[in-house]
């Protein structure tokens, strides 16, 4: 029997990197086609292909790790590095939007009236729904830590309850933020204030949805007994991502909602 003599995972050939690349191509060129020729078919096709790629690729990762045992300690270490590097890249992604916000708000131009918030903008009261949103996300950080400790201590019931609560809190945040978007007295087209506000909080909201989805997948896997008390990296990765989303919100709240008002 010719087996590997190393503990790493040499993955089997897979079509998902190719389908993912094709999806990226279709989505980007589809965006251009939409802008110029008013047709959304290419972009929608790309999005569908992206979703299929995501589901099947990560389904395969779960199969390889949980069902086939390929995630040895060194392999898991690699996955940890990967997640940390990815989250770091996301931090830098948001850093750009914070740079844009501070660039415009620290030295408001005469067109804005020379002050911030600019003339004509009524900012949202930071001590109303945005403060509630802060509390919701902080609470969800507590519940996800509770879930982690429950898993490590082998308590299935509490793990499921606290993870469910985390997802519900994430959903509540998204719901509240959607209401705020609907009721806001300014739009993305309202100068640099609107642009920085909605691009930064909008990408954050997208990340909340992504993080909630990741946690929901973990809940499904936890219910199906995938995680052990010592090996549950998928959950840890989701929890790291969730804490990152929470920290970005805190920066958004302090900078844009509070200082920026």
């Amino acid at each position: 029997m010719a087996h590997q003599a190393h503990p790493y995972h040499m993955v089997d050939p897979s079509p998902w990197p190719l389908t993912g690349a094709v999806a990226a191509l279709l989505m980007t060129s589809g965006l251009a086609i939409w802008f110029h020729f008013h047709s959304t078919i290419l972009m929608l096709l790309g999005t569908v292909l992206l979703v299929l790629t995501i589901c099947q690729w990560w389904r395969d990762v779960v199969r390889e790790g949980t069902f086939q045992g390929h995630h040895t300690p060194p392999a898991q270490k690699g996955l940890r590095y990967g997640m940390i590097l990815f989250i770091t890249s996301e931090v830098l992604f948001f850093a750009g939007f914070f740079w844009a916000f501070y660039h415009s708000s620290l030295a408001p131009t005469p067109e804005l009236g020379g002050f911030w918030p600019p003339a004509g903008i009524t900012p949202l009261d930071p001590f109303e729904v945005p403060l509630l949103n802060t509390a919701v996300l902080l609470a969800s950080g507590v519940t996800v830590t509770w879930a982690h400790h429950s898993i490590m201590e082998g308590d299935r019931k509490q793990a499921i309850h606290s993870l469910t609560l985390t997802i519900l809190l994430g959903g509540y945040f998204t719901f509240l933020q959607a209401l705020e978007y609907y009721e806001a007295p300014f739009t993305i087209a309202d100068g640099v204030y609107g642009a920085t506000f909605f691009v930064a909080t909008g990408f954050h909201g997208l990340h909340v949805i992504i993080g909630s989805t990741f946690l929901a997948v973990c809940l499904h896997r936890q219910i199906r007994h995938h995680f052990t008390s010592t090996h549950h990296f998928g959950f840890e990765a989701a929890a790291w991502y969730w804490h990152f989303v929470d920290v970005v919100w805190l920066f958004l709240y302090i900078s844009i909602y509070w200082w920026g008002s």
Binding site: M1, P73, G154, D155, R156, K157, A159
Partner: protein, 121 residues
């Protein structure tokens, strides 16, 4: 709320009856029970103190003829890379070790002996 607690404990005990190999009472399996494949093989052999998949740093020996560096191999030869052959080495010395008598590093002369082992399967 109390009926919810009863329901979840009923589900819990039903699950425990169905999956008898979950021996821990509170319901989350351990690696002992659930690890599979290479992860399981590595877990079990490391418990016996063995490292067939070279996860740890190679053991260092004094390198004399009586106490040569042991080089485990699943075939009859293996490449050895020595990074501190002499004190001021700035390069790594690479060489093949074949089965049989202990051979010497071409740079510093330490002894290396190939020892065959089989992968657990």
């Amino acid at each position: 709320l109390s009926s919810g607690v009863e329901f979840s404990s009923a589900v819990h005990s039903a699950v425990c009856r169905k999956y008898v190999f979950i021996c821990c009472v509170s319901g989350i399996p351990t690696d002992e029970e659930q690890a599979t494949g290479l992860e399981k093989i590595i877990m079990e052999t490391m418990k016996e103190g063995k490292d067939p998949y070279n996860m740890l740093k190679p053991k260092s020996y004094s390198g004399t003829k009586e106490d040569p560096n042991i080089v485990p191999s699943i075939t009859n030869r293996r490449i050895v890379a020595v990074s501190v052959s002499e004190e001021d080495n700035t390069a790594i010395v690479w060489f093949w070790i074949h089965e049989g008598e202990a051979q010497r590093c071409p740079s510093c002369g330490s002894y290396y002996k190939l020892v065959h082992y089989d992968l657990p399967h």
